[in-house]
């Protein structure tokens, strides 16, 4: 078990989870087979990032080019989450994440179109608040032959028939569509970006530890108007709501003593958004590289240092499969006059994908400068599963 812990200590970021997912899938490891996890990192054939480009300095972002893939970096993801309401008042949350992973810096030459160094993995989850149910599905594929891939112009990232793609007419703001389905649940949305991309970290360079290159390029589009259809529990619903896009790519981001992270993406009713990732050390204390971004209603962004925000967990939820997750939080941003209570829509929004983590829809209540403000959002919790 200590090996598992040791491994998990290394697995601080989502990207590490992705590596594990990739390898576990390849190894045919069933989810929840803990003993197998200890060797997952080994299955990478070493964690060497040699040959890959690294996020060492700020860069200039251009769109739509940067919506597309960056295969010279080892890992990358497109993270779309959101909260939806059906016409009849039913409440849903969704997460569609597509990960890209390079197995090697270069693909070897071949006359076969199947030869690639690119692997794609996707997680699709829906929270059905009305029925109190949480659905998860997972896909994996090689990034070749059109089975899975990503393209910048027109933007599209997909795996099998799951995709997030540009649907707009090329006007100033992004218009995308998203679709994903599994046997029990399906989602189809059209998405209109209500704000331009914001760069997280320092001009988009998000430092994850003091090690140089232990960083990622990270931007978000924090507010999308979403509408479309949900099929769940045998019924069809017309839905609308708000969505959030997180985009990140890097080649290495491991800190020796980091345990996991808590990520908050909150959309407030007054038109502002708060993103914060709280990196946890093995001893439970906060890592100094924890940081966030504040986005005003007009779309201007401000970097948040860890000393500008305090996050306290109020409750815990014990996973039936082992491990306890924080389950409600009090968040204070004194500099913004903000005091918030964050609570999950469902306690159990744990993903039993190849790697276990918690990612779910949350409700936000609180005050800003004394006036009441509420909102919704998504929270991701990694490194708690045991």
């Amino acid at each position: 078990m200590s090996i598992v812990l040791q491994e998990w200590r290394k697995c601080i970021f989502k990207l590490t989870a992705v590596l594990l997912v990739a390898c576990a899938v390849l190894a045919g490891t069933a989810a929840g087979e803990d003993p197998q996890r200890s060797e997952l990192a080994d299955l990478l054939g070493g964690n060497s990032d040699e040959g890959f480009k690294k996020a060492t300095a700020p860069r200039s972002f251009t769109f739509p080019a940067d919506h597309g893939p960056h295969p010279e970096y080892r890992n990358e993801w497109w993270y779309m989450t959101g909260n939806l309401d059906a016409n009849d008042g039913r409440r849903f949350g969704f997460e569609l994440t597509i990960f890209r992973f390079s197995l090697a810096p270069e693909a070897s030459e071949s006359i076969s179109a199947w030869r690639t160094n690119q692997v794609y993995i996707a997680h699709f989850a829906m929270t059905d608040a009305g029925r109190g149910r949480f659905h998860v599905a997972e896909r994996y594929s090689r990034g070749a032959l059109g089975l899975a891939g990503a393209a910048a112009d027109p933007f599209r990232v997909w795996i099998d028939d799951w995709e997030i793609a540009a649907a707009g007419d090329g006007s100033a703001s992004e218009q995308w569509r998203l679709r994903a389905s599994d046997a029990e649940f399906a989602l189809e949305l059209s998405l209109d970006a209500l704000k331009p991309p914001v760069l997280n970290g320092i001009d988009g360079l998000s430092q994850k530890s003091s090690e140089p290159g232990n960083a990622s390029y990270y931007y978000s589009i924090t507010r999308w108007q979403a509408q479309g259809n949900v099929q769940i529990g045998g019924d069809d619903y017309t839905v609308s709501g708000l969505a959030w896009l997180d985009r990140e790519w890097s080649s290495s981001a491991l800190g020796a003593d980091q345990q996991g992270w808590d990520w908050f993406a909150l959309q407030l009713a007054d038109g502002s958004e708060l993103m914060f990732y709280n990196l946890r050390k093995a001893d439970g204390s906060q890592d100094e590289h924890s940081a966030g971004t504040w986005v005003s209603p007009d779309g201007t962004a401000r970097h948040l240092d860890r000393d500008e925000i305090s996050i306290e967990a109020d409750e815990t939820w014990a996973s039936p499969e082992g491990g306890a997750y924080p389950s409600a939080w009090t968040i204070e941003l004194p500099g913004y006059g903000l005091s918030l209570k964050v609570a999950p829509v469902l306690d159990d929004q744990e993903l039993f994908t190849t790697v276990r983590y918690w990612e779910g829809a949350v409700d936000v209540t609180g005050t800003r400068d004394g006036a009441s403000v509420d909102g919704r959002g998504y929270v991701e919790l990694t490194g708690y599963a045991k």
């Binding site: 299955l43 197995l103 090697a104 071949s110 179109a113 030869r115 059109g146």
Partner: protein, 841 residues
């Protein structure tokens, strides 16, 4: 009473160990051959099914396409556009490593989860670097493969080691990345799995899939219908189990033939058993007479004999099963080799012993013993107690029976002919008729022998004196014993004649056909795969080469089985190479390129009941199309079910530009060997090709032909072995029984040398009579094998050719076998002391 009787009998058997062991041996050999063939067939079949099942994995269905498989983009369309899951692409083919032929299974590891587990699990120790990065290695390292432990051992390759793989005449680098976490019993030997990208590169099939494996949940009709509705016209969805079955079917006729051969061995064994049991009864008729006089009833006599036979049968069958398992192991290699040569790759090293096979063997042994003992048992039971002690009664009895037996034999032959005429295409009925013919013939032999010995005896007397006359007439007079020996030998010899004439005729026909078909002077081809296009162009420009023909062998698979299409572009004037059987060549060839016509091979025509004017339905790139059959052509191609199509027609209907062999027509003044040397130097380093003159190909083909019939030879020698023991035991028993007569002859002044000569002459005549009487049956058997069995099994038309040498050597062989078998009895008789022999009486 009974136990005493049994003890009396038992002690008799113990006192005659030769007799007992010969009986046992005879039955054992018959049983052994049956068990061996059954086990070998069964093991080969099981091994094939096992490896098919392993490779099929959890797939319930497979999407298959045309001659070049499926376009790989279909897979993407199914998944991405139509959202269909539970699919796995496969690129399959054959490669060799150091001349070991391996099946390569190219898979997409991401899709394997639902289909196969062995493609993803390895046994290499956890702390081994190679295992740790296995899956990454399998995807990223060019040429990374996995294989079974046994295969790695055979090839002498360790994990992490690089080696060369040859495919389609080209060499590629490979790396053994891991070993299957499965042992050989799972049908995974001689199989390598690799990433689909490697498989496409090695098999020179970029853009193509061999098939798409599909896993459909039980009763999920909606999924199936959705899938079928989006499949393009040149593909089809087939049940995986059905595909396995139709592949296995291909070798069925071959296996049926083997089984028939084994039954032939048992039949010969049956005579031997009858022979042995008859003697044991005959020799004990005094004992039986005494027992009858002491109050043993007829029923008890009958039961006694049968019980004894059943006991002997059981012991012999047990020994036969043991020997059969051993023999089966020897046969298995030959069977597997033949199947590998002609049907499909099968990796089988261990015989799998099935209760069914053993049961068959035991039942055959015991059943045959009982069947063979029934007649003597009835006979023994019918003895009057007093008469049983009188020798002459027996011979009188059997002589009276002779005409009845012969008549029964004639009747059986008539029935056999009727069965042949009325049974249509049933192979089993054909084989049954062959056995009836043999049986009927066997029943006629004793009468023939009696009549011929009666005729021969005076001549023998004239030529050799009284002892010679005695020797010959003795054969007819002791028919109850010698008759059986003669029949056994005659059946064995006739089998050799029948099979030899058939094989010989077949070989001649094949030779002629090859002569006619191989019109080009030189042929070049690649073992499996496509020939390099540039290479073909370079060959065409080689000095001395005047014209080129090309051919492509493609397989089309449908629900009903697999059809081979031979797409040929003939060189000018080479039409004559194809022998059109049922149409005028001038009606066929003018439209051959232009119209959608095919020629059907003779076996295809026979099997599918089609002929000129009929239509054949084929799945082309635009869906099912009808092709008119222009004629039937002669072909002894062992993958016989073929259609011949012009390349022009083929190109109009199929997406396949592959060429797997070419024929080169040389200028009159060109030297074949020089041209071949030139072609070899042109292709060196580009593609390994098989380049041969037509003469050499003919030789090679006939070598393969001969190898196929090695099995036939082996079984034929076994049948002869059984017959040999039959003669030996008959002669021994005869001498034992006639010990007193011989002693009297000695006492009357016959020298030991004369006595020995007499017995030797007797056995020679037995051999001669057997050999001669075997000829008609042998020829009839050959005829039936050629016209009925071969045709029903393979659909081939063979011209029967009787080489006199076969007949002469059969007779010589029969005499030699009989002579050899008579040596020991003759020596023994010569050694016997007349006084002693008479006193024993």
């Amino acid at each position: 009473m009974i136990p005493v009787v049994y003890r009396a009998n038992f002690s008799y058997l113990v006192r005659h160990p030769w007799q007992l062991s010969l009986s046992l041996l005879g039955i054992s050999i018959g049983v052994a051959v049956i068990v061996a063939v059954d086990l070998a067939n069964d093991s080969a079949r099981k091994a094939f099914l096992l490896s098919m099942d392993a490779v099929t994995g959890e797939a319930t269905h497979q999407v298959i396409g045309g001659p070049r498989g499926i376009e790989e983009t279909l897979y993407t369309r199914l998944r991405v556009e139509h959202g269909i899951r539970s699919l796995a692409p496969v690129v399959e083919g054959n490669v060799t490593v150091d001349d070991v032929s391996l099946q390569v299974l190219g898979v997409d590891l991401f899709a394997e989860q639902e289909m196969r587990s062995f493609t993803r699990r390895s046994t290499v120790a956890e702390n081994d670097d190679a295992t740790r990065s296995l899956f990454r290695t399998m995807l990223v390292e060019p040429g990374a493969v996995m294989m079974s432990v046994a295969t790695a051992d055979t090839l002498g390759i360790a994990v992490g080691e690089r080696f060369d793989i040859s495919a389609a005449g080209r060499r590629h680098g490979a790396l053994l990345a891991g070993l299957f976490d499965a042992d050989s019993s799972q049908g995974l030997d001689n199989l390598v799995t690799t990433d689909i990208a490697n498989a496409q590169a090695w098999l020179d099939a970029p853009g193509r899939l061999s098939r798409i494996d599909v896993r459909i949940a039980d009763g999920d009709i909606a999924y199936r219908e959705k899938l079928e509705s989006v499949l393009p016209a040149d593909t089809t969805l087939l049940a995986a189990a059905g595909r396995t079955r139709t592949t296995a079917e291909m070798s069925k006729a071959f296996m049926t033939n083997l089984t028939a051969m084994s039954l032939l061995a048992l039949l010969v064994g049956l005579f031997l058993i009858y022979n042995s049991v008859s003697f044991s009864v005959l020799q004990r008729r005094r004992l039986i007479g005494i027992l009858r006089a002491l109050g043993m009833t007829r029923r008890q006599t009958f039961t006694l004999i049968l019980t004894e036979s059943a006991g002997i049968g059981l012991v012999a069958a047990t020994a036969g099963v043991v020997a059969g398992v051993w023999l089966g192991e020897q046969l298995l290699g030959l069977v597997a080799q033949s199947i590998n040569d002609f049907y499909f790759r099968v990796s089988v090293t261990d015989i799998s012993i099935s209760t069914a096979s053993i049961g068959k063997g035991v039942a055959a042994g015991v059943g045959a013993s009982l069947f063979a003992a029934a007649v003597p048992a009835i006979e023994a039971a019918s003895y009057q107690p007093r008469l049983a002690m009188v020798r002459s009664v027996l011979e009188q009895h059997s002589r009276r029976l002779l005409p009845v037996v012969a008549l029964t034999g004639a009747g059986t032959i008539v029935v056999a002919v009727c069965v042949l005429a009325l049974s249509g295409r049933s192979l089993v009925a054909g084989l049954a008729a062959v056995f009836m013919l043999i049986l009927g013939f066997a029943l006629c032999v004793p009468l023939v022998v009696k009549m011929s010995t009666a005729l021969l005896a005076p001549f023998a007397g004239l030529a050799g004196g009284v002892w010679a006359r005695l020797a010959v007439s003795e054969i007819g007079a002791s028919l109850s014993r010698t008759g059986v020996a003669i029949v056994a030998l005659a059946v064995a010899v006739s089998a050799t004649i029948g099979v030899s004439v058939m094989v010989d005729s077949f070989r001649l026909s094949v030779g002629d056909w090859l002569q006619q078909t191989l019109q080009a002077d030189v042929y070049a081809g690649v073992r499996r795969g496509d020939m390099d296009r540039d290479l073909i162009a370079d060959f065409a420009r080689t000095p001395g080469v005047e014209a080129i023909s090309t051919s492509r062998r493609a397989w089309l698979e449908t629900r009903d089985g697999r059809t081979q299409i031979l797409a040929i572009r003939m060189a000018p004037g080479s039409y004559a190479g194809t022998e059109v059987l049922d149409a005028e060549p001038e009606d066929v060839w003018p439209s051959f390129d232009r119209d959608d016509v095919v020629l059907v091979s003779e076996p295809y025509a026979y099997r599918n009941g089609v002929g000129p004017g009929d239509d054949v339905r084929l799945r082309t790139r635009t869906g099912d199309e009808l092709f008119r059959v222009a004629a039937t052509y002669q072909s002894y191609d062992l993958n016989a079910s073929a259609l011949l199509m012009s390349r022009a027609t083929y190109d109009r209907h199929f997406d396949d530009d592959g060429i797997d062999s070419i024929g080169l027509y040389l200028a009159d003044d060109a030297d074949v060997d020089d041209v071949i040397a030139e072609l070899e130097s042109i292709s060196a380093g580009r593609q390994d090709l098989l380049i041969n003159s037509n003469v050499r190909i003919r030789e090679l083909s006939l070598e393969i032909f001969d190898r196929t019939f090695v099995i036939t030879d082996v079984l034929y020698w076994l049948a002869i072995g059984v017959a040999f023991i039959g003669i030996l035991s008959a002669m021994l028993a005869l001498q034992l029984e006639r010990a007193r007569d011989l002693a009297v002859l000695r006492a009357l002044g016959m020298t030991p040398g004369q006595l020995g000569r007499m017995i030797t002459l007797q056995t020679s005549v037995i051999g001669l009579l057997s050999g001669i009487s075997a000829i008609p049956l042998g020829l009839v058997m050959a005829y039936v094998l050629i016209e009925v069995i071969n045709r029903r099994a393979f659909g081939w038309q063979i011209d029967m050719a009787i080489a006199p040498g076969i007949l002469v050597s059969a007779v010589v062989f029969a005499v030699a076998a009989a002579l050899l078998a008579g040596l020991y009895p003759a020596w023994r008789a010569a050694q016997s002391q007349p006084a002693l022999a008479m006193r024993e009486e």
